[in-house]
């Protein structure tokens, strides 16, 4: 009778296996995967400064930026809204950590271009990094007629360059913060006493107010090479509003310039004197390359 007893036991075992409740656990625990921390900022720009965020690969961001006149002009100039300076740009997301962009500003008729790359992006899971480290290099080309056409002018005199590192972290769903050490080199400066190289440290942040609104700010402090007088550090404070395909960045700033050379080295407004201006960035993203859903 030994064999049947064994069989009954076997029968019972097969019954118990059958009564298992959590079926998915039969497939075994999933290994934790490294995962990128996304959406630290709504856009690749905080307000003026580059943010630690990148465009999604295959997308193009068409940006229209406006900076109005200073608020202290009062009603005469409708608090600055009668004057506007603008920059239009096209940015392209190539890889999740690589993007390029080109833009043109009315201020000094300047064309600018940049490339931005992040060797390290903030992530969680095994082998993750707590921060994003990105680098931006850009060039600006002044388009104004020569100040003195009688002397010999070189094209290279129109050029300025900037290099920036961005060290940023999304601390929580609602709060992101970044530091941006920056150097700007201008081939030609206004006065012989003005330095060609400027070293600055920027900070930028975002505090989410709701799912589709966020408070943003960026500030750049020039450490070395600020021209003697009349120039100030740019501070911008704004509100990001997201609607479907657009992001509106409404803000007040003391800077007119909308590229790194212009807003870091040529900001003439003073917050203390009310020389701030209303501005907005409008961002519209287009999907150029679509993944297949079939």
């Amino acid at each position: 009778m030994k064999q049947p007893t064994l069989l009954v036991l076997f029968f019972l075992i097969s019954m118990t296996v059958q009564a298992q409740d959590d079926l998915l656990s039969l497939l075994g625990e999933e290994k934790p995967k490294k995962e990128r921390v996304k959406y630290a900022f709504k856009s690749p720009r905080v307000i003026n400064a580059h943010s630690m965020e990148f465009l999604n690969p295959g997308t193009m961001d068409f940006r229209i930026l406006h900076r109005f006149g200073t608020l202290d002009q009062g009603y005469k100039n409708f608090f600055g809204l009668d004057q506007a300076s603008m920059r239009m740009s096209f940015d392209f997301g190539l890889l999740h950590n690589l993007m390029v962009g080109v833009g043109r500003s009315t201020f000094k008729k300047e064309v600018d271009a940049f490339i931005k790359y992040a060797p390290i992006r903030q992530s969680k899971g095994p082998w993750s990094s707590p921060v994003t480290l990105a680098f931006v290099s850009g060039i600006t080309v002044d388009g104004l007629p020569w100040a003195d056409p009688t002397r010999e002018n070189y094209f290279s005199s129109r050029l300025a360059f900037y290099h920036q590192a961005i060290l940023g972290r999304k601390f929580s769903e609602g709060f992101s913060f970044q530091l941006m050490p920056t150097v700007v080199h201008k081939n030609l400066v206004q006065a012989a006493s003005d330095p060609n190289d400027i070293i600055a440290l920027g900070v930028g942040g975002r505090l989410k107010l709701s799912k589709r609104m966020a408070l943003t700010w960026d500030y750049t402090h020039v450490l070395v090479g600020m021209p003697a007088s009349g120039y100030y550090n740019p501070l911008s404070i704004g509100l990001d509003i997201e609607t479907g395909g657009h992001v509106f960045q409404l803000h007040v700033t003391n800077a007119t310039g909308m590229n790194e050379r212009a807003f870091i080295t040529e900001t003439t407004g003073q917050w203390g004197k009310g020389q701030v201006r209303f501005g907005f960035n409008l961002s519209r993203t287009f999907q150029l390359k679509k993944p297949k859903l079939d």
Binding site: Q18, L24, K38, Y39, N56, T59, E242, T243, Q287, L293
Partner: protein, 186 residues
Amino acid sequence: MKKSLFVLLMGVCLTNLATAQKFFTKAGRIDFNATAPSSPENIQAVNRTVTCVLDAANGNLQFAVLIKGFTFERALMQEHFNENYLESDKFPKAEFKGAVVNNTAVNYSKDGTYALTVKGKLTIHGQTKDVEAPGKLVVQGGKVNATASFPVMLADYGVAIPGVVADKVNKIAKIDVACNLEPLKS
């Protein structure tokens, strides 16, 4: 006498083992479509990494799917889906735990097609609701192909559609599930 008892018990065991068969996949597919009739663009996504286990013995059926695994045509839409609507950092998974109601009608050891009803609890965005959906099972060569289609009322799961996109995002999303299940070797 002894021998016949042995054969009988052996037979019972074998049938029991056969019905105790479980089927699974880790590469099932879910299509999500919340395109409003007036929308100029398609609000749809696909996830090809759906996990599913079906217990043939009692019809118990479970699904799990990572919200971040949904791919949209437009990356920005995917971003909003994760960040604003499904909040995938807070609620990374959607799950279904239920059973095939008319499981006894299905013979898993023979090829055939069965219309069936699935009933159970669906958890999306941290909220659980009872659902019932019609589906189809095709048993072929020891494998099971399971498909089902059902609507999901987004508001039921605490997913709010703001007025600004109400003309694009439908209040009811259509969910299509398709899984090729293979026998689970334990």
